[in-house]
């Protein structure tokens, strides 16, 4: 088990606070004119993304969080867990609903995702920035309208709903930015 003293604090360091893994966003050394020094840090909870401030006495130690990031290939969903595989070792990991969260609508089989593992178990799943997904449901396309103006909702094969231009048809493959949930372009198969 690794421990860190406050003088080792820097942004990006993964630490354990009240039983949860956090990453340090910002660290400030605070000291009154005469008296004790403190470390005031902004930390992000790696499980829920919430950012909080925390103050430590200078010299205090905290436990490091055993957190690592892996690039894993998404295999399948079994109704309860999402299964991933390390492409070289073939080692498999399963992520639950809490870890996958809102990103489940971007997971397409074979895509490589970034998983954060805490004590060996996934706590977050980050899909690729761009994914290619098939349109399963949308209003009929308006032929000849390639302006992209206006738009309409389209449901994709993973269940995600994005706004697409009027010319998009059911069955077409689309490139989507997962960070903004926005349509980027059509993809030729």
């Amino acid at each position: 088990m690794t421990t860190y003293a406050t003088n080792q604090f820097k942004s990006g360091l993964k630490i354990l606070l009240d039983g949860d893994p956090y990453t340090i966003v910002e660290n400030e050394f605070v000291k009154p004119g005469k008296g004790q020094a403190f470390s005031r840090v902004r930390v992000r909870n790696l499980k829920n993304g919430r950012v909080v401030e925390k103050t430590f006495k200078s010299g205090d130690t905290v436990e490091g969080a055993d957190v690592m990031e892996l690039d894993l290939q998404y295999l399948y969903y079994d109704g309860e867990f999402w299964h991933f595989m390390e492409p070289v070792s073939f080692e498999q990991y399963s992520a639950d609903e809490v870890a996958v969260g809102d990103n489940k609508i971007w997971l397409k089989e074979q895509d490589v995702c970034k998983l954060m593992l805490w004590n060996g178990s996934p706590i977050s799943v980050e899909p690729p920035n761009f994914v290619e997904l098939k349109v399963t449901e949308t209003d009929p396309g308006v032929r000849g309208d390639t302006s992209g103006g206006g738009g309409k909702p389209a449901t994709l094969e993973t269940g995600a709903v994005v706004r697409v231009p009027l010319f998009v048809e059911e069955g077409e493959l689309l490139k989507v930015d997962t960070r903004t949930a926005e349509y980027v372009s059509r993809v030729k198969e």
Partner: protein, 315 residues
């Protein structure tokens, strides 16, 4: 992040630094305060447990880069009784942040025969070297500002202080182990300090006796020290007061510091024999102050970090 080989400062910034140092030297030359340059390297260092000394050399015979020139300047005061200043680098182990660098430029000066108030007026004259618009600096009472910003009296019990601190997002380890003084430091630095000197610089006086450092106690109220701090835009710029001249009182305070260090597992340095000798010889009544030159420049130029006005600062 500073690039290797680059100072991180524009030529204009370097000139502004140089201009401030030149203005300080010109100011003191004009009023007959003599520049001294006491050694940076000594076999002992400040006893204050919250000032971490930077030890160098062999572990068996460590030497310390000085955290301030105070001790040897007091020797010069005892020996010659003349006004003196030192402008140079001082060192603190492990202090790094927006307002801290492990080595920084300190201006420290002593005025024999002057009261604390006289010296505070002169501090304002130094401020005016960088900010001529500063004409008057208000003075606020330590206890009053503490009450105003924490809704607690600084003498409140540990439980009340801890309860107030808990609302600030404090680690459990800190809450459980901090003594009342540490909690008071925490509340002052988090709730009070950021508000001080926002419109214009402000002095804080009326510090409690246990925060006297080596200032004398107020003869009219021995629960208070004759010590002041100067704040500008929430940044502590200077720390001074009327000097303690009695050897017995000095020994008591230095021993208490060293005892605190021993209990806290901090390095325990030798009692400063030069300082003791100066007190034995007889220190004249005097006021003295230390001012952070980099922070002064930072505030005057509206920079966000001391590192932004210091060449080759650490990240």
């Amino acid at each position: 992040m500073r690039e290797h080989g680059r100072s991180g400062l524009s030529w204009e910034r370097l000139r502004q630094r140089a201009d401030l140092m030149a203005a300080i030297r010109a100011y003191f030359a004009a009023c007959g305060v003599v520049e001294v340059d006491t050694p940076s390297l000594r076999i002992t260092c400040a006893s204050d447990p919250h000032i971490p000394a930077l030890a160098v050399g062999e572990a068996a015979e460590p030497q310390f880069l000085q955290s301030s020139p105070e001790a040897l300047m007091k020797c010069l005061l005892a020996e010659h009784g003349r006004p003196i200043y030192q402008l140079g680098k001082v060192y603190r182990a492990g202090e790094l942040g927006r307002l801290h660098q492990p080595e920084f430029t300190m201006l420290e000066w002593y005025r024999p025969g002057w009261s604390m108030q006289n010296l505070m007026d002169e501090v304002v004259a130094i401020l005016r070297l960088v900010e001529p618009a500063v004409t008057q600096v208000d003075t606020v009472d330590w206890r009053s500002v503490f009450v105003d910003h924490t809704s607690l009296e600084p003498e409140a019990d540990r439980h009340a202080l801890a309860q107030r601190a808990a609302g600030l997002g404090v680690s459990r380890q800190l809450l459980e182990t901090a003594d009342p003084r540490a909690l008071r430091d925490l509340l002052f630095s988090h709730c009070v300090q950021p508000t001080l000197g926002q419109d214009r610089p402000v002095f804080v006086t009326g510090f409690p006796a246990e925060e006297a450092a080596f200032a004398r106690l107020d003869p009219a109220d021995d629960t208070r020290a004759l010590r002041f701090e100067l704040y500008w835009a929430g940044v502590e710029l200077a720390n001074g007061g009327e000097e303690l001249t009695e050897l017995d009182a000095w020994r008591r305070r230095a021993s208490a510091d060293l005892e605190y260090r021993r209990r806290a597992g901090l390095p325990v340095m030798a009692i400063d024999a030069d300082w003791v000798a100066a007190l034995e010889l007889g220190l004249p009544a005097a006021s003295g102050v230390a001012l952070g030159v980099d922070r002064l420049l930072m505030c005057a130029l509206g920079a966000n970090a001391v590192g932004h006005v210091m060449p080759f600062a650490r990240d």
